[in-house]
């Protein structure tokens, strides 16, 4: 059981609040959009969140101006 941060790309407008709150997890591309550090593919949309980052992730969910973020419990994938 881990936590994932889901980014809804149809809503995200690259405003950069989440990248400020989770600098170790999310970088920012040239257009302002968040980019999961060290992940490829699916994990760039459903970003794994370490327990130490959960509080900041929760903050990002409630402050995102476009409500593009959601925290979910990930089903164990055996990794």
């Amino acid at each position: 059981m881990g936590t994932i941060l889901h980014i809804d790309w149809t809503r995200c407008d690259g405003r950069g609040l989440c990248t400020e709150l989770l600098p170790a997890v999310l970088g920012r591309d040239d257009w302002g959009y968040p980019v999961a550090r060290g992940y490829q593919g699916r994990a760039r949309t459903d970003v794994p969140i370490e327990p130490r980052d959960e509080e900041a992730a929760q903050e990002a969910v409630s402050l995102c101006p476009t409500m593009a973020l959601a925290l979910r419990k990930a089903a164990s994938r055996g990794d």
């Binding site: 405003r15 400020e20 302002g32």
Partner: protein, 185 residues
């Protein structure tokens, strides 16, 4: 005691208007997506919310104290339904209109996560309508409106709000404008 309610009503109304002016300015900075001086984006967002809520508290004190003032004699109905008042009903009614608009803005903002971004944004535009209405109410209804210091502050805040609005409408308002138009960063 009577005079006290009146004085308190004026002071709280003034503080509320000043805080609402600050909320509008912070809301615009928030929307631009830029950090401000040393404040990161999320701090501006939190500051915008908290100053708006504080302004709402002072708005409550403003109305509450004038309900107790024997001259203004606000009735409960005057708080929500405009233009029925006994003292300068038009100008007082504008205060009620501003209160209704701001109440809608604050309630939908607090329920943002539940009602979704569309309704939130649509109602949040009322903030731009509420500010001039509140200012007109203060100028038309207030005891202090004739005084030089009040007029000076009113003119100064109107100038700042109009300036921020012009910035809001300008082509390079968003932090990401340049990058998204494909121009060099």
């Amino acid at each position: 005691m009577d005079e006290a309610m009146w004085a308190f009503g004026r002071a709280s109304g003034f503080i509320s208007l000043a805080l609402f002016t600050a909320s509008v300015l912070l809301g615009i900075v928030n929307r631009s997506g830029r950090p401000l001086l040393t404040l990161p984006r999320f701090s501006i967002s939190i500051l915008h919310r908290n100053i708006a809520l504080l302004a709402t508290v002072f708005l409550g004190l403003h109305v509450g104290s004038l309900m107790l003032d024997p001259f203004a004699r606000l009735r409960p109905v005057d708080v929500l339904v405009p233009f029925l008042g006994s003292y300068r009903p038009l100008w007082q009614g504008l205060g009620t209109v501003a209160l209704d608009l701001l109440l809608a803005v604050v309630v939908t903002a607090l329920l943002r996560q539940r009602i979704g971004p569309r309704v939130f944004k649509a109602v949040h535009w009322f903030a731009y309508a509420a500010w001039p209405v509140a200012m007109a109410h203060a100028l038309g209804n207030g005891t202090d409106a004739g005084s030089a210091w009040f007029l000076a502050l009113a003119v100064a805040s109107a100038a700042v709000v109009v300036g921020a609005l012009l910035w809001r409408l300008s082509a390079t308002f968003l932090e990401t404008t340049r990058a998204r138009e494909g121009r060099p960063l």
